[in-house]
Symmetry: C2
Subunit: 355 residues, 2 copies
């Protein structure tokens, strides 16, 4: 099954653990005479899957009492709207550290007033702020914990006091130890670190569930989904099952402390080449470097094209940078294998040597 | 693979064609060195899948020029909100023929004024209206083409003139020939007739895409998804692939005229037993009977329980009626096999004979 498997650096949907795919393949036709795609979301079997997934996530992220885990649809993009619709009274603060936090802020502007709590736009989003640089205000402060396009990540989170901290953690959820109690709400699309596309995770502090500043359709209210245990409407059954398998895999690996260590080593292999190179350039400031998305540029468009094409021949795919930044982006989420990072590092050195 | 396969009467997620599941199993690890769950939604491969799915649906449903097909998330429940948010100026009309049309109307009430264009609530939703009974008014008329819980279905659609007809076709999309040009917008969750849970289909007349009566987050606007060819945000990749396979299967079977004939025969096998029985009772009026969900009751709670338990022993599962109606519900969507309907009909006759 794994013979022709490529090293997949795509930014999401992203690589999944091979043993999860194998378990899925073994099991998906065997759900009491049905396939996984056919079981009812009201069945005992699926209820068990949902509970397992919730408990595993709670255990792995050490989610304290007083928080509720929701499994929704619509991706982070729907959360860009649901967060302000539910939680914003008149205004909220957004820390702008890249394309996606800008998108989140721009959706919030359709709901109320947005204050920029910080922005690194003037420096092409080359860093995340120090906690002291961020000015929380209004109903909440919104941050994007990891910036996939610019390759930056928050190492420390701002202290927002009584103002809830809301985080889009789509590209680094469950990749490192974080203190959930610092956050009012954490949301993430599953398709980078936790499973396939089509599933959104929301972790919400219970006092925020019932915030209500405006009349909303029930489907857009966190309270609806909380009251119905994520079964208000038909959930994405197979994506939740896949996430359960990914979370079990993560637990077996030693949980978040272990994966954080592994992610640090993996990213380190590639940053090490960048730091020793006079050829590759990375724009992200050292203290803001992402462990998930490593971005760099080559001296010319032509060299970039050759890099991508030779990498592909070596089984290294999905390395093309986002159109906004150009260059190269290596996304090395939880399930990306150490051996793949090593292979890329070697490839980079060899490629540089040939120039 | 098919040896232990149950006859699955679940109302959705529902049974899928066995050959589709087999094709999925054969192919899902073989997408250019990746699994289906790992390919980028920006890849050429996925773009091909998306286009194939769109073209197949357009061909099968004979969708005329001037309509756009969108693949979204959030199920019909999110459409209950998106329809009024996008299309309602001050008021709209809703024909209330069951639980789900009531839900749609109640979400619309959070947006503007709702007029009841028809209701069969007084008769426990035992029928859908004749075209002449429906009074369209306001920005659109909303109907639910098939009522899964009460087992009724529109046989003829109201003529709404210049007022757009909006239809929730979640439980009968692509199960029969309809004239799309009569509709302004048709939406449906995929998980009954077209694929797994987590995917919503919207077919919208182009003049309605840009309707704009209020400021909305981009993610909630039809125009956003139309302008981005359903790739505004990460789509549910595997569900779209599965739908593509289901649509190919449908085409091979002879398309909608063929499946409509088959569905009529399938449902007829069960209605025939009901019509000849003094034991089973069906509430739905004959002219409103659904070809998708056949609902009936037994004389007692106890008989119902025995029916369900003995059916299960015979490999007939998912027959329990909705909690609102009680009794039995046999959902026999496109992929439900003729042989399963025959088996249920025989089982019903035998069970009645033993009473």
């Amino acid at each position: 099954m794994s013979t022709n498997r490529a090293y997949n650096f795509n930014p999401g949907p992203a690589t999944l653990p091979l043993e999860v795919l194998e378990e899925f393949k073994d099991r998906f036709m065997n759900f009491g005479g049905l396939s996984l795609f056919e079981i009812s979301h009201r069945s005992k079997e699926f209820e068990g899957i949902l509970e397992d997934a919730k408990h595993l996530l709670t255990e792995l992220m050490n989610i304290p009492k007083g928080y509720t885990v929701l499994f929704l649809q619509g991706g982070a993009s729907l959360q860009f709207a649901m967060v302000p619709l539910n939680l914003m009274d008149k205004k909220a603060a957004y820390s702008i550290t890249g394309y996606w936090s800008g998108k989140a802020a721009s959706e919030a502007k359709t709901v109320g007033e947005v204050e920029a709590a910080f922005t690194s736009e003037g420096a092409n989003f080359n860093r995340t702020p120090k906690p002291s640089e961020v000015r929380p205000s209004g109903s909440y402060l919104h941050i994007t914990t990891n910036n996939t396009i610019h390759g930056t990540q928050y190492r420390q989170f701002p202290d927002t006091g009584a103002i809830p901290l809301v985080a889009d953690a789509s590209s680094d959820i469950a990749s490192r130890v974080i203190e959930v109690s610092k956050f009012g709400l954490i949301y993430a699309g599953a398709q980078k670190n936790l499973g396939p596309a089509g599933l959104t995770i929301v972790i919400i502090r219970d006092d925020l569930i019932k915030k209500s500043f405006r009349t909303l359709p029930a489907i857009l209210k966190y309270s609806t989904h909380a009251e119905n245990n994520s079964l208000y409407n038909t959930p994405p059954v197979s994506a939740i099952y896949m996430m359960k398998l990914v979370l079990s895999w993560l637990k077996k690996k030693g949980g978040l402390p272990a994966i954080e260590k592994e992610n640090t080593t993996k990213a380190g292999l590639i940053y090490d080449v960048l730091d020793k190179s006079g050829f590759y350039k990375t724009a992200a400031e050292r203290e803001s470097r992402s462990l998930m998305n490593i971005t760099f540029t080559l001296p010319s468009e032509d060299a970039t094209e050759r890099f991508l094409s030779e990498a592909k021949k070596s089984g290294l795919i999905g390395l093309k940078g986002h159109r906004i930044t150009g260059g190269i982006r290596a996304s090395v989420y939880n399930a990306f294998p150490m051996e793949g990072a090593r292979t890329l590092a070697q490839f980079m050195k060899k490629f540089e040597g040939q120039q």
